[in-house]
Symmetry: C2
Subunit: 666 residues, 2 copies
């Protein structure tokens, strides 16, 4: 073993965040304060100076900020990320001779030692050495201090005072001897996105079902007419299933039957026909011009259009003829369609990502995303990303974000947990989750704890969907209106991003194709629907209220400080979120039983939050808009599914014990 | 982002063991089966082939062994380490085209699809391609199989049978197309030590206190006379505090008084006098020849001599004159002695490890260890390693083990947890622990769980000391004989390595220097003692029995499968260890209250261990040598501190449910 740098005594380890040893970036939102922690220690008891270094990816200059020791050799520092893109950070630390001397002197003084003249001379020597590295007035100042510490004329008390003074310490920090500094081996990355990556409210809608009249094929113009309705409900992302020409060969009929009738429109995910492929518009929806108009019009309503990136082809896609080498061909000369034996999807040909000229294919697919970005789209919902190579997505997202750093990619990967996390790590901004299948209290608590209290929170941004065209959960099938309301409140308040597939959701569509199925009967995937959004029992008013609460309470716009509050009834789930300064506390209680009234005691950890347990709190019910006064840690409630299956309280107390509040968040 | 290797679809992460991202080796014992796990997955549902690669450090050839998938994309493989030194390991994995095709064919057959001729042709093509990479008979065989799959004469049923056959799969595995293989980025290290690194029983003894007669200075010859006594108790390491000449300047007197009397021998840790330093023998103990004789004699009793490596000097150490540059000098021309304000240790000068010619110093210190290795010593108890640079130890231990791979280093670092772990990571074979200060049930349970159930177990080998010359815990001061017995059983059965400082321990010496102190009154550190080991109440018989139990029950020779068993009385701690095949189960119950009888119910998870809960178990009390028959999961016991404050049962049942047993250990 080679003998080098014997003076490097500091160990730096356990850095957080650090995803997979630095292989992947941690994710943050523009304006966030990024907190970095590490275990930092050296042999012995010397004082260590620690600095956090950070820089924007394209800058060569590191900014330094000191890190502070917490307990058990844990160190913490932070910096603010003000721009989109990547920031690099690392840590440097050294055994600080002057600070060690100061600590030692302090101990001696506290132990009332008086024979410290020699120690003061040692300190003078250290300062004199620093002066050698300084220049100008700094150097002169340091030498003056060294003289004072050595002078027989100065009183010992004054020497100690001088050594301990802020000004001496500040200047000594400036000229600290860093020759023994150890810098962490890795430069780690923070990837900074815009706020909508974390806080977004999605509405999925099939444009073809937006026509005014039944049986008529909807257009982008019809979508525009629907914008006020969507906007009033408080959604800020309108996600459209694929808008491209739909294949005719092997087109699927109603309810996924193998042979379509003549007027069946086919599934939008069978992309490509004579009229074009992934860069074309289904003529029945309108023109590219119409689409661009919709994008602009939506912006006026505060809504962004998200499109679907589904990299697969119908048998009629122009790629088949232009690039047969991008597909798998079987020995009988036919193309390999999608299969999951015994299921067959003859209307869809997967692309062969491992084809010999995969570079050409990948470049073409990148150009698809860039094409829609040029039309004004910045949000992409990616269909089944887990069936395409990880490296492809990492490359594609990196490349697109170079040109459009504000781009957002949502991964629709309903697959094994490690694959879902992998996709998030390599660049997807948001991810579909298992939320739809987490319905009881223990399932929800366990899952949300994994998402918000473990390392997962640093790279995986969940988007909670209450339903999708593919998933109508049994809970919604059987729970009636209260189930729809409860699931909406859970999605909207447990998680900062959520979505509904409408108008099926707000119209409480709940009939499955067959018993035991999660598919909708007469699914919109295979036919044009006409939704009576004017129906009197439409949930739109309730949805609007919940979304307004999300917009008015910043604490619901992230998943920080999510607490599960104890209840004595397993049908009642209770949780809360609070801001660090306690300026906003939201407490939510949901009756998970859609059939019966449920009552029970819920725990409100007033003292742990940092509020005064001796004084009453104001509990503002934001759904009913009533105000109650609560006192103490336990509160009894009854939730009637037929009126309010959920309650959302904003909690306040006139003044807060701010020290306790600060501690709470350390 | 560069576009390279688009065909590499496999992700390998979460490799275990992997200490600090591979910066440090994991530790194992010669003959161990090393189990490696990792998360391995690709996009889609294709089958992945995974191989664990390993090699001895000085070999260039990797050995391959397949890894198997468990659940949730977790993969496991293992290899046996047969030699001392370092082994490297890594993982390679690829999407296996043939295995994927087989899985697909199996699904089709199970779904009773009959239109599979095309699929069989595809399979034939894959086999034909493999034939191109093979030669000789293998190639001919593969081509024959491909022909069969293509032949119209072969029945479909036979083709399927052929494709699924072991011989086809075996040969296809041999010629698997690895062009898309992904190899884990890191080569990780397993450091292999001899068995004593994990299983050792230590006895600490001051040679100077071994003389036959009171007030006489003991010698190595006297130590030899003590060997049968130590051996009979079952110890296999005899650790001697420093045996070097002791300084005279500022020598400490009895009970650490500042000024020694004329005949005070000084503390052995004030190393160095006119007679020599770290390579010399204190003439009062004998000669180097005598020491070597002791080492050999001890071996005859199955005992290894461990010496103390304390890198510090008395003011009289030859280094001071020969190498003044290795010490810190104060402005008044005096050397800097050891201090921890307000405490002063004027009899000890620390070495300045960061001295300008540190290389020379470090080399000299290495030569000290090598010198004693040449005298036959292979075990080194290192004094206060946490006050010397981490890099120094990493280098020193690596260098010494190059020549003496069987060397064992025990770190006497009573300091902050992360520093203790760091020293273990960088090479110390064993470590002192906080065991002495963990006395109640929750403290012991929490600490042992950290040591044995977390990543710590892969790099930190605890050595539990019941007492040391510096630590006489209050529990022993006040608990009498039962306390000594209880702590001995805890140390000896909770952990595979433990030690006692004798004869103070077996003679139950329990008087502190003052109330509230953990120091011994009239500590042996500052004076020659005479121990009456012939005393009738000597614990030697009990110690011998406990150590025999350790030797006769392999399950106590490692910390695998340590379980804490529930009890309904906090004064009773109950735990067990079992071998994977259940051939040995040891259950220990200790009454932690040295003053009162304690009784309670203890849980014996018979079914969870894989035994038949319907059948009785044989509980052999190894301390009392009585046999009881236990049935069921709960058992009531009473422990009387005045007879047996602890019970050690060996648990057996005639036959075991071996499947359940296997599952238990997965």
């Amino acid at each position: 073993m080679e003998l080098v740098e014997g003076n490097k005594r500091v160990a730096i380890e356990g850095v957080s965040p650090e995803i997979d040893g630095g292989r992947f970036p941690a994710k943050r939102i523009i304006g966030d304060t990024v907190t970095i922690e590490a275990d930092i220690f050296a042999d012995g008891h010397d004082v260590i100076s620690v600095y956090l270094l950070y820089r924007k990816e394209n800058s060569t200059i590191w900014t330094e900020t000191p890190m502070q020791f917490l307990v058990n050799d844990r160190c913490r520092g932070s910096f603010t990320v003000g721009e989109l893109g990547s920031y690099l950070y690392t840590i440097t630390a050294w055994v600080d001779q002057f600070k060690t001397w100061c600590q030692d002197l302090k101990k001696r003084v506290e132990a009332k030692q008086t024979d410290i003249e020699i120690n003061l001379l040692i300190g003078a020597g250290i300062i004199r050495e620093a002066a050698g590295c300084a220049s100008g007035t700094d150097s002169i100042q340091l030498l003056k201090w060294a003289d004072s510490l050595e002078s027989e004329k100065t009183k010992q008390r004054d020497k100690v005072k001088l050594a301990m003074s802020n000004e001496v310490n500040k200047l000594m920090e400036k000229y600290a001897d860093r020759s023994s500094a150890v810098t962490y081996l890795k430069e780690l990355i923070i990837s900074v996105d815009r706020e909508k990556s974390r806080f977004s409210t999605w509405y999925e809608m099939f444009p073809r079902s937006c026509a005014d009249k039944p049986r008529q094929h909807g257009t982008f113009k019809d979508c525009e007419a629907r914008l006020p309705y969507i906007s009033k409900m408080g959604f800020d992302v309108l996600y459209l299933p694929p808008i491209h020409p739909i294949g005719h060969t092997n087109r699927k009929g109603k309810n996924n039957t193998v042979n379509a009738e003549n007027n069946d429109p086919g599934t939008p995910w069978a992309i490509g026909a004579r009229e074009g492929g992934h860069k074309a518009i289904n003529p029945q929806l309108g023109t590219l011009e119409d689409f661009r108009h919709l994008v602009v019009k939506a912006q006026e309503y505060g809504i962004e259009i998200a499109i679907d990136i589904a990299f697969q082809c119908s048998p009629d896609h122009p790629y088949i003829k232009e690039h047969p080498e991008w597909f798998l061909w079987r020995p009988d000369g036919t193309a390999q369609y999608a299969e999951n034996p015994p299921k067959k999807y003859q209307d869809i040909y997967p692309l062969n990502f491992a084809t010999e000229n995969w570079q050409e294919l990948w470049e073409e697919l990148k150009s698809v995303v860039l094409f829609w970005a040029e039309q004004g789209v910045r949000i992409f919902r990616v269909d089944n990303p887990h069936t395409k190579p990880f490296r492809f997505w990492e490359w594609l997202i990196t490349e697109v974000k170079k040109e459009y750093p504000e781009a957002i990619f949502l991964a629709e990967a309903f697959t094994r947990p490690k694959i879902m996390y992998q996709l998030a790590k390599l660049g997807f901004s948001q991810s579909y989750t298992y939320f739809t299948w987490r319905n009881n209290k223990s399932e929800l608590t366990e899952y949300l704890t994994e998402l918000t209290q473990t390392e997962v929170k640093d790279f995986f941004r969940p988007n909670f969907w209450v339903n999708t065209p593919d998933i109508l959960h049994e809970y919604l099938q059987t729970g009636g209106r209260p189930a729809f309301m409860a699931r909406l409140v859970l999605a909207a308040t447990l998680n900062s991003s959520y979505g509904i597939y409408g108008p099926a959701f707000e119209l409480m569509e709940n009939v499955p194709r067959e018993k035991g199925s999660e598919e909708y009967l007469n699914s919109e995937k295979y036919e044009v629907k006409h939704w009576n959004i004017g129906r009197k029992d439409n949930l739109k008013g309730f949805i609007a209220r919940v979304n307004r609460i999300r917009h008015e309470n910043r604490v619901l716009q992230s998943n920080r400080n999510l607490w599960f509050n104890a209840t004595d009834n397993d049908n009642l789930i209770c949780y809360s979120k609070h801001l660090e300064d306690l300026s906003s506390i939201i407490l939510v209680i949901v009756n998970l039983d859609p059939h019966q009234k449920q009552s029970g005691w819920i725990n409100v950890p007033v003292a742990a939050w940092g509020l005064d347990p001796e004084r009453p709190c104001r509990a503002h019910d934001l759904l009913k808009d009533t105000i109650e006064t609560w006192q103490g840690e336990w509160h009894q409630l009854e939730l009637d599914p037929n009126t309010y299956p959920a309650r959302i309280f904003r909690f306040t107390q006139d003044t807060v014990t701010s020290n306790a509040a600060k501690e709470l968040n350390n």
